[in-house]
Structure formats: structure tokens, C-alpha cells
């Protein structure tokens, strides 16, 4: 009881909302919402969301028509696909994206796992520093004539095997349409990282190198890291792990196996914000809200992840967050 009381009074003085703050919140809310037109009163027309500016088209696999799946799965996949088109791409794809081989665009996860297991192992040498970037897109809803706001943030990280290194974060950039540059990380915001965990704190390097090689064990480990009844969080964790180049091949294979255990299925190709086409593997959480993992089938490296969050039924406006993982390299020095 004493601990509860202590906790409940923690930062208690911050909870007070004075008049100035209340007015600022109201102003900000009305800026976001826009004026209410009299004609809209009592209707919901103004809140309908159509992904009209989201136009990338997934590549239709020639093989997919030959492998007829149960109707329900097909319908679910179509719904997921329509939503994910909105999630993953703000760029009009006119065929100029970087296509990977069309013959492997719906590679089953089992085959992807086999490919991952056969790839060369990449280790961090003594003194080596793993360097990589991650772009995060955060979306607000589209309301009436207002386009959805997409905020981009780039994280750039240099990590030694002991987990120390540097984390550099960009200022947020508001994307207003195709071609808007992503945030550029600047040295002013560098943070010295002193905790273990190469690249976005996935795991300490030693643990990355000792990850399970059995899909069931991998899933058990993941579910101990996130909520066990939250497949989307588990998939995101796996996606981050599978984006890291220094994860051993056998663990990569187990990671794809774990994604399959979570219910992921290939849904063709999708184009990311930076116009890279990848294989897409989608699953849903217990409420039917989809998540997707993007994979380069040639390198078996995960290139992106997106999840639908928020409340509601999984319509496009709930697609509020995606991650895109940039290339990684091993360097010898931290940034200046």
C-alpha cells in the first residue's frame, strides 16, 4: 500500500491542467481537426479516409494464381494487401522501382528460412563497429480535405560489440508528398550509447550471436521480450532482429520460422517509402489488424516493418507507423 501511494503521487503535481495549457491544447486540437462546416453536422462524411495518394501497386505473382488458397484466406489477404499499400508507400510507383526477381516474389517463409540458413555468416571483428540507419514513419489520420501527415525520423547508429557507440537522431521531417526528403541526422543530437545492444537496442551482441536456432525456441524468446499475446510486437521484434547483418544464419532461419508460427503469409511485393520493392509477409493480430514484414528475398535481410495501431477496425487511418531499415556496414571508427 505504501508503495502504491508513493507511486500514485509520483509526478502528481504535473497532472494539473491550468487555463493556459487548456487553451493551448484546445487550439492545437482545433488546428488538427479543422473548422467544422455546418453541412457536416451530424454526419461522418468528413472523417472518411481514402488512400488516394497512396498508389504503389504490388507485383502480382504469376504463381499466385496457380496456388489457389481457401477463399477466406484470399479475402483476408486482399484486405490486408489493400491496407498495406497505404501503409508502406507514399510514392507513386511507375515501374521504376528497384524490383527484385519476380520469380521469387511470393517465396514461402519456409524457403526464405532455408535461404537465410545458407547465407554467409557475418561477424563483427574485434574493434569493428556496426553502422546502420532506420527510418521511422509516423502517420496521423486524413480528415476531410486534409492530407494525412507523415512524420519521418531517421536514426543512425554506430555500435561496438560491447554495445557502446553513438546514436544520432534526425529532427522530424513532415512529408507532404512524394520526394519529400527524410530527416537528416545531425551530429548536434548525438547521444553516447553506453548500454548493450547493437542497432536500436535489439539485443547485446553476444546474445545476437547466441540466438535460438529452432523456430519454436525463437518464438518463446521473442514472446518473453514482448507481450505473449501481441503478435504485432513479436513480429516487429523479429523484423528488427532480422534486419541486423551480424545475426548468425541459423538464427535468421529460425526467425523466419517464428514469423511463420505467428501466421505470416506472403502477399506479393510492396514498395517502401524509399522506393525499394521487397517481398511482403503479412499477419494479423487477434483483432484482425494487419502487420507486415518486408524482406529482400535475395539477401534474406528484413528491410521494413509496418503495423496498424490505434483503435478501430483496421482501416487505413489506423496505419500509423512503419519502419524502414537502411543498409548496414562494418566500420572502424565512431563518427566525429
Amino acid at each position: 500500500v505504501a508503495a502504491d501511494d508513493k507511486f500514485e503521487s509520483f509526478r502528481g503535481s504535473m497532472a494539473d491542467l491550468d487555463e493556459d495549457r487548456e487553451q493551448r491544447i484546445r487550439r492545437r486540437f482545433e488546428e488538427l481537426r479543422g473548422p467544422i462546416r455546418p453541412a457536416d453536422s451530424g454526419t461522418d462524411e468528413g472523417t472518411k479516409v481514402a488512400p488516394v495518394h497512396l498508389v504503389a501497386t504490388p507485383v502480382e505473382s504469376p504463381r499466385s494464381s496457380r496456388h489457389r488458397r481457401p477463399v477466406l484466406v484470399g479475402v483476408a489477404a486482399a484486405v490486408v494487401l489493400m491496407i498495406l499499400i497505404g501503409v508502406m508507400s507514399l510514392v507513386r510507383s511507375s515501374g521504376d522501382s528497384t524490383d527484385v526477381s519476380s520469380s521469387i516474389d511470393d517465396l514461402p517463409l519456409g524457403e526464405l528460412a532455408a535461404r537465410a540458413g545458407a547465407r554467409a555468416d557475418v561477424e563483427l571483428p574485434p574493434g569493428g563497429i556496426l553502422h546502420g540507419t532506420q527510418v521511422e514513419g509516423l502517420r496521423t489520420a486524413e480528415v476531410r480535405e486534409r492530407a494525412a501527415t507523415l512524420t519521418l525520423r531517421t536514426l543512425e547508429e554506430w555500435a561496438r560489440s560491447d554495445g557502446t557507440g553513438t546514436l544520432r537522431t534526425s529532427s522530424d521531417a513532415i512529408a507532404l508528398g512524394p520526394g519529400t526528403p527524410m530527416g537528416t541526422p545531425t551530429a548536434e543530437q548525438d547521444v553516447d550509447v553506453v548500454e548493450p545492444g547493437p542497432l536500436q537496442r535489439a539485443l547485446p551482441y553476444d546474445e545476437l550471436r547466441a540466438l535460438p536456432t529452432d523456430p519454436n525456441d525463437m518464438l518463446t524468446l521473442v514472446q518473453s521480450k514482448v507481450s505473449p499475446d501481441d503478435p504485432a510486437s513479436a513480429a516487429e521484434w523479429l523484423a528488427k532482429m532480422l534486419s541486423i547483418e551480424v545475426v548468425p544464419p541459423a538464427a535468421r532461419a529460425a526467425g523466419f520460422g517464428a514469423l511463420e508460427l505467428l501466421g505470416a503469409e506472403p502477399i506479393g511485393q510492396l514498395t517502401s517509402y524509399s522506393n525499394v520493392s521487397s517481398n511482403a509477409y503479412a499477419g494479423t493480430d487477434k483483432n484482425g489488424r494487419p502487420w507486415v514484414v518486408l524482406v529482400d528475398p535475395v539477401t534474406t535481410r528484413v528491410t521494413g516493418f509496418a503495423a496498424l495501431g490505434g483503435q478501430g477496425e483496421g482501416t487505413f487511418r489506423d496505419a500509423e507507423r512503419w519502419l524502414e531499415f537502411g543498409p548496414q556496414e562494418i566500420v572502424n571508427e565512431l563518427p566525429n
Partner: protein
């Protein structure tokens, strides 16, 4: 934490009219802001509170009162927005635990003495919070700070009531263990 809140509940079974939404806003803006401020500080909380109500407004046609109280729905939106700032919240809590000064607080000389007097206790709370998983921290703060019931937390976080109860118990146990040495000193 399982008692009813004293806030008005919304009546429409599906969707919320503009007038009902206005009532919702007026009734809850203070508490939603307070919850957010205690998680990430006052400045960011202002923006997140506005965004919470904007998201609620944009999705008001999908609101289904038959699924539960409106309170859970609203805090679910707020909690989702908070997740975008998880890294910031973590670093603030760790800094607080380490040096005893809350980075989310505006500096005010008049409060320094008060803050120092209780800092041992607060540091332990910050440390305990920083050690919780995201979901356990959400549950604990929704119960302790937002005063949501089990049902409302379950709705907000899309979890079963059983999961909420067991995780809340675990989080409280963790808190009690972490705070035990400091209670006699403060």
C-alpha cells in the same frame, strides 16, 4: 483500481455526435493531459492530449459504446500515441533514477528543496518504472494515475481482463520490492 470512475460515460451506442464529442472533450481533457504529463512531461503532453482528441474525433464514427466505457477507448488512443515516445520516456526515467532530478519538470528554484527532500523515494519510483516492460508500465500507470478500472484498461490496451489483473499484480509487486528500502527513509 477496479471501481467505477466518476467521469460521465457516453451514451450513443455507435458513433458520437459532435455535441457528445464536445462533452467528452470537456469531461476528459484534464485527466488525459494529466496522465500524459506524468508519463512524458507537460510540454509534450499538451501536444499528445490534442492529438488524442483529434484521433478520437477522426474515429468517432467507429466508436462502439457496447464494447465498453468511453474512458478505455480514449486512453487506448493516448497510450498508442505514447508508444511513439517510448525511447524518450525511458531515457527520462533513467536520468531521473540516476541523478535525482526529473527532466520532465520545468526548473523552479522554489521546488528544489522539496524535490531534494523526497528525491530518494522518487528516484526509486523512476527506476522501478524504467525497469517495467512497455505493457506493464502502461497497465500500472493507467491503473494508478488514470484510475482506470480493469475493464477500462483491458479495452484501452486490447487485452483480456485476466491479463490486466495478472500483469498489474506483477508490476505492483515489482514496485513494492523496489520501493521497500526507501519508504522508511522518506
Amino acid at each position: 483500481v477496479d471501481g467505477p470512475t466518476d467521469l460521465p460515460e457516453l451514451e450513443p451506442p455507435t458513433g458520437i455526435s459532435e455535441s457528445a464529442f464536445e462533452e467528452l472533450y470537456t469531461a476528459h481533457v484534464g485527466r488525459v493531459y494529466g496522465f500524459l504529463a506524468r508519463r512524458v512531461g507537460a510540454s509534450l503532453a499538451e501536444d499528445l492530449a490534442a492529438q488524442t482528441f483529434f484521433e478520437a474525433w477522426a474515429g468517432r464514427h467507429r466508436y462502439d459504446a457496447s464494447r465498453g466505457a468511453s474512458v478505455g477507448w480514449l486512453y487506448g488512443i493516448a497510450t498508442n500515441l505514447l508508444r511513439r515516445h517510448r525511447r524518450r520516456e525511458d531515457s527520462q526515467l533513467r536520468a531521473f533514477a540516476r541523478v535525482g532530478v526529473d527532466p520532465t519538470e520545468d526548473f523552479d528554484e522554489s521546488t528544489v528543496v522539496d524535490r531534494l527532500m523526497v528525491r530518494a523515494g522518487w528516484q526509486r519510483v523512476a527506476a522501478a518504472l524504467s525497469e517495467l516492460s512497455e505493457i506493464d508500465r502502461d497497465i500500472l500507470t493507467l491503473a494508478g494515475w488514470a484510475k482506470l478500472s480493469y475493464e477500462e484498461i483491458a479495452e484501452a490496451l486490447d487485452l483480456s481482463i485476466g491479463t490486466v489483473k495478472s500483469r498489474l499484480h506483477r508490476a505492483r509487486t515489482h514496485l513494492a520490492r523496489r520501493l521497500a528500502p526507501s519508504i522508511d527513509l522518506t
